[in-house]
Symmetry: C2
Subunit: 227 residues, 2 copies
Amino acid sequence: ALALRDVVKTYDMGTVQVQALRGVSLDIARNEYVSIMGPSGSGKSTLMHVIGCLDVPTSGTYTLEGQMVAEMSENQLAEIRNEQIGFVFQTFNLIPRVSIYQNVELPLVYAGVSRGERRRRTTAAIERVGLADRIKHKPNELSGGQRQRVAIARALVCNPSIILADEPTGNLDSKTGAEIMNILDGLHADGQTIILVTHEDYIAKHALRTVRLMDGMIESDLEAVVS
Amino acid sequence: ALALRDVVKTYDMGTVQVQALRGVSLDIARNEYVSIMGPSGSGKSTLMHVIGCLDVPTSGTYTLEGQMVAEMSENQLAEIRNEQIGFVFQTFNLIPRVSIYQNVELPLVYAGVSRGERRRRTTAAIERVGLADRIKHKPNELSGGQRQRVAIARALVCNPSIILADEPTGNLDSKTGAEIMNILDGLHADGQTIILVTHEDYIAKHALRTVRLMDGMIESDLEAVVS
Ligand SMILES: Nc1ncnc2c1ncn2[C@@H]1O[C@H](COP(=O)(O)OP(=O)(O)OP(=O)(O)O)[C@@H](O)[C@H]1O
Ligand SMILES: Nc1ncnc2c1ncn2[C@@H]1O[C@H](COP(=O)(O)OP(=O)(O)OP(=O)(O)O)[C@@H](O)[C@H]1O
Ligand SMILES: [Mg+2]
Ligand SMILES: [Mg+2]
């Protein structure tokens, strides 16, 4: 489904350069379930942004479904970001002044889905993450874990084939976290590709392969032992 | 050190009322080490905001160091929030357009600390959370876990006697999280009062007492068994 070759991402800070990714090569096939782990600052979110077509590598190539991302048109990229890839951001990135209903509905609006169908899918997504009774709240009228769940609902509402989840349970208690993992496991069983960043071993165990980053490079890339 | 009696916090949403806290009573003595746990949305952050004098209860009383918070002057409250209490927010609440150095320095500026002393204490706090090489970065030029550590450094820079940490390791890998817990354990050994919200049992175990919330009420309040 996707292939990165020698991807480098450097931030130029004037006096110094920060090398967030230092030559990452990675293949992920369709319907894989991959966890990405590594220390704080090791490049996980940067890698996810490259995979999600939200950030351009400084050098190296990224091929998605057989096509070089660097050669795609703006329209193509917009559609990929909105409909093919569902991104749960580490810092949620919700729109502050509108309700969570409108936050979750937005990708469907961009996708040109009809109003009745939008209503049906938006309410279903919000119910699935247990927030039906908070549907009119704005993000700042929610708890941290509730905001995280809105970000998850929004990422899933277009039924994307690739789900990128950057620490989706970081703000959730174990029971609510388990409910979210059930959703992701179910999507994987339905054929989606799941890539999730996590700091927790017990979350990473839901995946079938674990890629570990260290200082912007892949330190290990291991299939899970099926026991 | 602090006493809450029958604290209620209600949010009026027009058509419906959200009862975030439904009558919480709690005593915490000086130099206690308390963890607060409970499901997403159960009222933990709301409780922390009341304790931190950042939010006023709808009813009930809050007494801090023998004085009713409702009777304090604005100046008194400002000093408490800035110098007596160090608050690590669940969503960090950093100032986006200035460097992390300026973010961490700000409480010292408000406290009227001299420039040389501010420099010394700000750099020490930033070094203590392992971010010396990121000192000129702005918050959006940092990883999620790095931002969390800036929020921690800022909360500690005035050497406050009460530390309120709302999920301080949620975005950190286990090694970095352990370093942060070492800092908090050390502060407790020095005599500070530590109150931390966490979803993780192994973090809660650092505390000597665990208060569990459920639907805005205290479900249990237990001293740890020392083994
Ligand atoms: N400004 C607000 N207006 C309306 N409701 C609110 C507001 N802030 C919080 N709430 C509601 O109050 C309840 C308690 O929120 P709080 O942030 O204290 O939960 P929490 O225990 O910290 O949850 P989490 O573990 O997800 O961070 C939630 O159900 C939330 O929706
Ligand atoms: N815009 C930026 N400018 C400069 N440096 C940046 C920028 N964004 C990220 N960095 C740096 O790149 C490195 C990798 O960041 P990234 O967010 O990918 O880490 P991460 O592995 O997701 O960490 P965490 O587990 O803390 O979320 C970090 O050291 C960070 O300071
Ligand atoms: Mg990250
Ligand atoms: Mg909270």
